[in-house]
């Protein structure tokens, strides 16, 4: 009787250990702790620019050319180009390099900013150039 009880305790412990170990399955993650998937899609699907007041500064629709890898946006006359918040919508599992951490300076129109889209499998990298035009007065 006592012996049987001990066996049952030992069995439960073993089962718990097995369950615990099975939870430790390794998923591949990148340097940001993001899951690396099998997806190969790599593109920008939408783009937005917000001013320091978090209101859009865009005029009309943004033109995203996924072949030429350019994003063309026209902004309102009088936009403060030094303090803009860019917003990207990317294909599933993609990420952006460099990361957007806050206000970004887009005032150097001669040297447009570039953002690289990295695919879900982290193998494909596509740089997009942000071309900004300021609406005339």
């Amino acid at each position: 009787m006592t012996m049987k009880k001990y066996f049952s305790i030992a069995g439960t412990l073993l089962l718990a250990t097995c369950l615990f170990l099975s939870c430790e399955k390794e998923y591949p993650v990148d340097e940001d702790g993001l899951l690396i998937t099998t997806r190969t899609e790599c593109f920008v699907s939408n783009f937005e620019l917000l001013g320091s007041d978090f209101v859009t500064v865009r005029v009309g629709a943004v033109v995203i050319d996924t072949t030429a890898q350019t994003i063309k946006a026209t902004v309102q006359f009088g936009t403060d180009l030094k303090n803009l918040y860019p917003q990207f919508t990317l294909a599933s599992d993609c990420k952006l390099d460099p990361k957007i951490t806050g206000k970004t300076d887009f005032s150097d129109l001669a040297n447009p900013r570039k953002y690289t889209v990295v695919s879900g499998n982290r193998q494909i990298r596509k740089p997009y150039t942000i071309l900004i035009t300021v609406q005339p007065r």
Binding site: D53, F54, Q76, F77, G78, D80, K82, N83
Partner: protein, 315 residues
């Protein structure tokens, strides 16, 4: 045993009417929210009561650590709310008298319980300091009771509300004076003019209502001939959805305090802000770095007029 526990748990406790204390009692609350700004009032409600068999209220007094400005008073009305939800006042004493730091109301009605409101006008001397209040009541049996509130910090900032600005006329804003000037007066106060208000209805772009530094690129000042000597460059940051309660006087419970001005970063801020909407605003820093301000736009119209309100902190 379990059943016993259940029975014990269900045992009903007899309700007993609370017995009122038989001494003079008082209580006070601060009714005003937000920063305490010079020139504005802080409102308190002071409640006092004694059992009728013990006596009645004789006088109520508030003692502030810094004497209140003109208009400081303790109400001589006590209020009840009628069925329509309106507060109806009943006179219970003589109008309050101010003597130095003290404000007193002497009761004239035979009353044993009352709540009086106290309005403290924040004097300029209190700027940046703390102020405390001691509420005292005396009853006919010779008892006194006191209630201490505070200390409350008085903000360093200034505020002006509802300044009318208009295109080509009252268009020159001085943060230092917290006033709006026309071109002729702007010329005589040229060194103090920080911003120009203008309205342009242009079909090619959304210019509309704008606040622009005199020193900004002339592309942002179309058709403006600046008065002689008006040439300062004021940094500004456009803001939306910051309807400060004191400035907007709307339903929003947002308050800008001294700290908000101190935490701003104008390093890359432009010196113009165009296409400003009603209920929007701009953070501003003057060219000499002496003042930071928040200019809120209360209203605009298509005739080229706007109403603005300003909170300003001297750095």
């Amino acid at each position: 045993m379990t059943a016993l526990l259940f029975i014990a748990g269900c045992k009903k406790q007899e309700y007993a009417l609370p017995i009122a204390k038989d001494v003079l009692q008082n209580d006070a609350i601060k009714r005003t929210l937000g920063p305490n700004i010079v020139g504005q009032t802080i409102e308190f409600a002071y409640a006092m009561a004694i059992q009728p068999s013990k006596g009645k209220l004789v006088s109520a007094e508030v003692e502030a650590t810094i004497a209140g400005g003109t208009g400081t008073f303790l109400e001589n009305n006590t209020y009840f709310t009628n069925q329509s939800g309106v507060d109806v006042g009943i006179v219970v004493g003589l109008p309050s008298s101010n003597s130095g730091i003290k404000t007193t109301v002497t009761f004239t009605k035979d009353t044993s319980a009352s709540t009086l409101r106290y309005f403290y006008v924040i004097p300029p001397e209190a700027r940046g300091k703390t102020v405390s209040f001691k509420f005292t009541v005396k009853s006919s049996d010779g008892a006194t009771a006191s209630y201490q509130l505070g200390p409350y910090t008085v903000a360093k900032m200034d505020m002006v509300r509802s300044l009318a600005v208009s295109n080509n006329n009252l268009a020159y804003i001085s943060i230092e004076d917290m006033k709006v000037y026309n071109a002729a007066d702007a010329a005589t106060n040229a060194a103090k003019i920080d911003l120009v208000y203008l309205f342009r209805n242009i079909s090619t772009s959304a210019f509309n209502h704008a606040l622009v530094s005199p020193a900004a690129d002339t592309i942002y000042l179309p058709g403006i001939t600046l008065p002689a000597g008006v040439n300062r460059s004021t940094k500004m940051i456009k803001v939306f959805n910051l309807q400060d309660f004191n400035l907007a006087q709307l339903q929003y419970g947002i308050y800008i305090d001294d700290l908000d001005f101190q935490q701003l970063n104008f390093a890359t801020a432009p010196n113009f802000g165009i296409n400003l909407k009603q209920e929007a605003g701009v953070w501003v820093e003057t060219a000499d770095g002496k003042y930071r301000a928040y200019i809120y736009i209360n209203s605009v119209n298509s005739a080229g007029n706007a109403v603005i309100s300003i909170k300003r902190l001297a750095l």
